[in-house]
Amino acid sequence: MPVQKPCVVFVDDEIETLKPLADCVRDAGIAGCTVESPADIDTEMLVAADLVVVDYTLEKWPSMVDEDEISRKPLNGIALSAVLREHSRANGTEAPTAFALITGKPNSVSSIPGERRPHVVARLSNLEWFFEKQASTEDNVRRIASLASAVHNLPRNLNEGPIDVGELLEILGAGAADLSDRYREAIERCRPPIHHLSEHSGGLAVIRWLLHRIIPHTCFLVDSLNLAARLRVTSESLLAQLQAETEFSKQLSVYRYGGPLNDFGGDRWWRGGIEQWIWELTEGNSANAEAVLAELRKLGADLLEPVGIVRPVLTLGENLEVEATFSARDDVEPVQLDDWPSYAEPAYMRKLLLSEHEELGIFKSDQTG
């Protein structure tokens, strides 16, 4: 019998360590939230859980200390997650269970030195997500609750066979949108796992696709930084403007993404919707930044400040994180990162950063450059 509320199980050899975080997640609305020792986990818990969050370090788990046979000894949270996932799969219902890792030692988790982008670490470790204890509790709580809810709210018929893009559009909350045909085509370009990959995952493949391949990149959804760049306004002024109730925010809200994980990493909007909106507002002059801003101001967006860069782009920093400030196109170079989806907007780095960090030169490519 599936539980009616999202359920998260934290697994740690030191239960007290994760209890404060579990309490916060419970306060955020995830009523079924427990912290368990690895020794106490059973299949019933796994089946009931929407999300299992395993601590990376399990050195104080007695089985780890006493066991000599290494095949019976999950070395860390990644290994334990793999074991638990298989138990979950073997005993599960049509409702899937997601697995995530949490650690206070992020550098020891990644098999690639310096690579701490959570979607990359998670993907390489066969996990849905990777949380750092160093991140703000508020962020971790929001993301854990969002992931658990997304898994919990997946339709229950996703194991019955392949789905089509129309069904995926429904899952993503845009089946009835005026621009649904446009959104559908944009989604199709992003290689959604709607055929054989989704069939036996109960929809978890869709969650993974969103987490690893869509949300971290600029594809059919844009985050507030990308939205600001497109509107040619500063991100600070856009965030301030979004707080105010105006015709601008009302019209913009039509294009806000409301599907699974919509609160995982800040607001997102349907990119095609934004383009159509400003195209209509400017009567076909949406490439003209001044014309766009003038029309937005007519909608009460008085706080928006022009960015002062002809074609602002977002860049990656030294640790491959997205930098908060825009750069001019002339000041950046396209870079080619492993596993960067071909359907996503290309990645850029500032020329100055590349000159200061020789090791980043491996990402430079004649093909993209």
Binding site: D178, L179, S180, D181, R182, G272, E275, Q276, W279, E280, G284, S286, A287, R311, R329, D330, P334, Q367, G369
Partner: protein, 248 residues
């Protein structure tokens, strides 16, 4: 000609054409203008989902054109000596109308206004304009020939001034991507031919789109001159293509 309804295009064909050429021309397009393709595709989609009862301008505007890499004399058949380095730019403007009332996303558009693809060549060292021509399709009122090219209009040197408008030289090229391939074929006489000789899905797809269109234009042109009322040329010059030229 009052009964001219334009030329019907499939949105999907125009989109595919732009996407294929975006890939096929990548190494011939200057890195700082490759983004123009993406913007152009976005605008096509905007028009596709836009209102029915108006003419939309689909364009790559001349302020932000597609720009080729430099040709170091590869525009000559003989490359024994290194020529003056030049690069080309391409912009275009087409007047499109959505024909279907009440549809959120259209499958076809009608090319009802003039379609002009402007090509310019600049000296790479001085940025001085050294050549300019247009590939054009007329509208309901243009005197023909309907598919034509024209040289150096908008010049300030007194030769081929804009007011003169002639000559309109007959052409089989129609779309902006036809113009782009023409430009690359001129600037890189050998290299472009070698490039499109490589077997690939993207080359084949583009070749089919372009080939089908040119065949239809030539077939229609042939039908105009086969049994002329006046002279073959005057009949072709006066002829307006049917709406379904490219789709039926």
């Amino acid at each position: 000609m009052a009964d001219y309804e334009g030329i019907k295009f499939r949105y999907a064909d125009m989109q595919r054409e732009l996407e294929r050429m975006q890939t096929l021309t990548q190494e011939f397009i200057s890195e700082d203008s490759r983004w123009v393709f993406g913007r152009c595709l976005e605008n096509l989609e905007n028009i596709r989902c836009a209102k029915q009862n108006r003419v939309h301008q689909f364009e790559i505007n001349k302020e932000c054109p597609l720009k080729t890499i430099s040709s170091e004399g590869e525009y000559r058949a003989s490359q024994k000596e290194r020529g003056i380095s030049v690069f080309g730019t391409l912009s275009f403007r087409m007047g499109l109308e959505n024909p279907h009332r009440g549809k959120n996303r259209q499958s076809d558009f009608h090319l009802v206004g003039e379609a002009t693809t402007s090509i310019q060549i600049f000296n790479s060292e001085t940025d001085k304009l050294v050549a300019r021509w247009q590939i054009e399709a007329g509208d309901a009122t243009s005197p023909g020939c309907h598919f034509h090219s024209a040289a150096n209009q908008y010049s300030e040197d007194g030769i081929f001034p804009e007011w003169l408008k002639v000559p309109r030289l007959p052409s089989v090229l129609l779309t902006p991507m036809d113009g782009l391939e023409f430009l690359l074929g001129e600037l890189f006489q050998t290299r472009w031919r070698e490039h499109v000789s490589v077997e690939s899905e993207v080359r084949n797809s583009w070749a089919k789109l372009q080939g089908d269109r040119i065949k239809r234009i030539l077939t229609w042109s042939l039908s105009q001159v086969s049994d002329p009322e006046t002279t073959a040329w005057m009949d072709l010059k006066r002829a307006k293509p049917p709406l379904g030229l490219l789709t039926e």
